[in-house]
Subunit: 213 residues, 2 copies
DNA sequence: ATGTTGATGGCAGTCACTGACATCAATAGT
DNA sequence: ACTATTGATGTCAGTGACTGCCATCAACAT
């Protein structure tokens, strides 16, 4: 048995998610997180760069998964299909973690600083995917645009999944999101009369990720 | 004549951009910005919510422009074409401000906190555009995806413009970006052999907006 | 002449975050 | 078994972003 309780980082991350959920992000001090984890404030900052980062431990793994899937897609695959392979790969790691994802998503959506951090993680993901596409020989700006589109599909697909019923699988929502993007991009751009948009049927207003700026 | 020098907010914004450029964002204190503007730190925070916000005064106007153009696009226009109208509208306000845009962009790209703030402004823009599209009768998730695509085209188009020669107009870069997105989305998704990506010709590596996370 | 308003200054305080140094169990090396 | 090293943690002092509260004072209205 070690000198200290094990799983320090995980204990901090759990305590933080709990406290952010209970009292809100701003109303929680780092000292409180550390105390709940049985540690001191100074130790918190040795494990996480700042008060926000504690919620984004998995971002690196996610990015790695996405990038590897893009890199390993068949050489014959078009850029957007390589990105789609990345989405499929990423979707698998969320199976069975729906409740955790919901809770974390709610906490992040409730605070602008956390939202900012999430957005820069997604921007980092996009940049990494664009890089992987360039290594596949995709030119600019096609690589960046494909990556941005892929991440947009991820964002929207993720929110569809979170809002959906329990049986729904993330990969399904990702495919639905990608198909919608294809339809929406293909429908415009003609010079003659353009097809009218589909009228909405449900009264739902899902809203974006932004908390209202 | 008033009791104090006029254009307080503008003086603060100018001083901040200068100092962030000269010594870097982190190495600049709010007290220094205020002093250069002939004010005190306390007054800075009466005009700007935080140290980052001082660089984003125009974000509201930009969003308004974009949203209005989307709302006022012909009813017959497809969602993506309404978004394209927003891009055109936004492009006009940057004419003649290229150097300022370059300087500001360089400062933001050099610091993660500023980048985060820019990203949340773009997310807010995306949410507002999605809302405008919904008011046009576009259903979800098509509205959110169109808005995300539009903002992605804006981001990439903007960087193309900044990297391009002096004569280049922003609206040109926006159209180029949108055309590339259309091409990239249309090229994939088939079941049979997919078209091979265009190989890159230039050695340039434009990179994304992210500063390397 | 006087009261009100609005932008500013001054000041004390909280909290995120950092650098420097101390502690001490585990482990390696002898 | 003894000792040196290591590594995660604790302690403490300090900086700077940001806030609340109150004072100031020219402009303006009455």
């Amino acid at each position: 048995m070690g000198r200290w309780e094990p799983n320090t980082r995980e204990r901090l991350a759990t305590a933080a998610l709990e406290l952010y959920g209970e009292r809100g992000y701003e109303q929680t001090t780092v000292a409180e997180i550390a105390r709940r984890a049985g540690l001191t404030e100074r130790t918190f900052f040795r494990h996480y760069a700042d008060k926000r980062e504690v919620l984004f431990d998995g971002a690196g793994t996610l990015q790695e998964l996405f990038v590897n899937a893009v890199a390993e897609a068949p050489e014959s695959a078009a850029p957007i299909d390589a990105a789609a392979a990345g989405l499929e790969a990423v979707a698998t790691v969320f199976t069975g973690r729906r409740e955790h994802a919901r809770q974390r998503h709610a906490v992040i959506a409730a605070n602008a600083e956390l939202l900012e951090r999430e957005l820069i993680k997604l921007a980092s993901l996009s940049a990494a995917v664009a890089d992987a596409l360039r290594r596949r020989g995709v030119a600019e700006p096609a690589a960046s645009l494909t990556a941005e589109a892929g991440v947009a599909v991820f964002k929207v697909g993720f929110e569809l999944w979170i809002a959906a019923s329990e049986e729904r699988e993330l990969s399904q929502s990702m495919r639905e999101s990608l198909d919608e993007l294809r339809a929406v991009i293909a429908s415009g751009g003609t010079d003659g009369p353009t097809p009218r948009p589909r009228r909405r049927s449900s009264g739902r207003t899902p809203g974006g990720t932004s908390a209202g700026f």
